[in-house]
């Protein structure tokens, strides 16, 4: 009995060390299709200078196989949805006889768009996410039903729009008319919620690189969204991820597409200003 306890005691610290080492960001570089060089770690943007020195893509916190899957479009299951969205792109829906292609030609014409969203929309007088913009097009230009915010068809379209911006640095505007929304998002980021009283920052700023139960805590960057998750084999939206995180603090969550999550998305996106657009990326 005594011997057994000693063994356990000796193993304990060993296991702990192994776990801690695994959780840290991995040194590696991401080149997609031997062509697109991704910036997966870089200096933190100015507004984060008090909090972080370096920002890192969630890609660095994943396993070897998962990281490799993202390096080739054929291996990346997220690209299946991009292909589906390419079909949707030129399909005429709604009462106006328009498809996405009627105005935007090829999806490639939207290169660079993902990198600057969420973005202030002057006509609407609000900050808009890509999803809101897609639905605006559907409702007002195509005369079609809006798509479900976190649904498969919508996220496939977002993945297509992201995929043509891959490798470009995220660069959302935090000043000008978007500033008040950005401030609101920042407030939400640092507000503790739920029975566990956790803010986004408690995990993703204070403790990234450590384990949270069996998983690795990343910096919570959203440059890789929509994300193909191996656990549910579909594309996951930014707002669905926010909802999951808030739920895990045991709080009532905001709704995907709500003004709170739009503000939070703008702020979190700005924390990744400088990282490459990766979407659709692979995470577990």
């Amino acid at each position: 009995m005594i011997r057994k306890m000693i063994t356990v005691g000796a193993l304990g610290p060993l296991l702990f060390t192994a776990g801690a080492a695994l959780a840290e960001a991995v040194e590696d570089t991401l080149v997609v299709n031997e062509d697109i060089e991704m910036t997966t770690r870089t200096d933190a943007p100015e507004h984060l200078s008090d909090a972080l020195d370096e920002i890192m893509s969630g890609w660095h916190f994943r396993g070897t196989e998962t990281r490799a899957m993202q390096a080739d479009d054929f291996d990346n299951p997220g690209m299946i949805f991009v292909e589906q969205a390419r079909d949707d792109w030129s399909e005429v829906v709604g009462t106006e006889g328009n498809s996405c292609a009627s105005c935007h030609d090829e999806p490639e014409s939207l290169a660079g768009v993902r990198a600057v969203y969420p973005k202030w929309n002057e006509a609407a007088g609000e900050v808009r996410t890509l999803e809101m913009q897609v639905n605006d097009c559907r409702e007002n230009r195509m005369g079609a039903e809006p798509l479900k915010y976190t649904g498969g068809t919508m996220q496939a379209m977002i993945a297509l729009i992201s995929s043509v911006s891959r490798g470009m640095p995220v660069n959302v505007a935090t000043d000008g008319p978007a500033e008040s929304t950005w401030e609101e998002g920042k407030e939400l980021y640092y507000t503790r919620t739920g029975q566990l009283e956790l803010s986004c920052a408690n995990c993703h700023e204070d403790n990234y690189g450590r384990m949270i139960r069996a998983d690795h805590l990343s910096q919570g960057q959203i440059n890789g969204f929509p994300v193909y998750r191996l656990k549910n084999t579909k594309l996951n939206s930014v707002h669905a991820r926010f909802k999951g995180c808030v739920r895990d603090t045991r709080a009532e969550t905001y709704k995907p597409g709500s003004p709170e999550f739009v503000a939070l998305e703008l702020y979190v996106a700005s924390r990744g200003n400088g990282l490459s657009v990766e979407g659709p990326s692979i995470r577990n």
């Binding site: 054929f74 291996d75 299951p77 299946i80 292909e83 589906q84 084999t233």
Partner: protein, 109 residues
């Protein structure tokens, strides 16, 4: 025919004689296991790809039996030695009787 099924293959365009090349295949398919239930408690019937084959100039390269535990969008990566210029023929067999086919030419230099 199950919805949204599309086969994809990746084969190099050229190879040297006798070289072992890497082939990747992916087919988008739901692979419904037959073990899940819908919201009313009724069993969702099994609907999977149950067999995958690859032939080169009529000669079999690989013949796989797939079972319900295999994930959605099954992906295969395997190697083949190419003795001569020819064509790889890929075939997937669906539970519902559908057969999905695609082929890729390769030339030996």
């Amino acid at each position: 025919m199950a919805k949204g099924v599309r086969p994809r293959v990746k084969v190099p365009k050229t190879a040297s004689a006798g070289e072992a090349i890497t082939i990747k295949t992916l087919i988008s398919h739901k692979m419904e296991s037959g073990q899940r239930k819908d919201s009313d408690g009724n069993k969702i019937p099994r609907s999977i790809i149950n067999r995958f084959t690859c032939d080169f100039n009529g000669e079999n390269v690989i013949d796989v039996t797939l079972e319900p535990a295999i994930s959605t969008n099954p992906f295969f990566e395997f190697e083949a030695t190419v003795p001569e210029t020819g064509e790889f023929q890929f075939t997937w067999y669906d539970d519902d009787g559908s057969v999905y086919e695609t082929s890729k030419k390769i030339s030996v230099e």
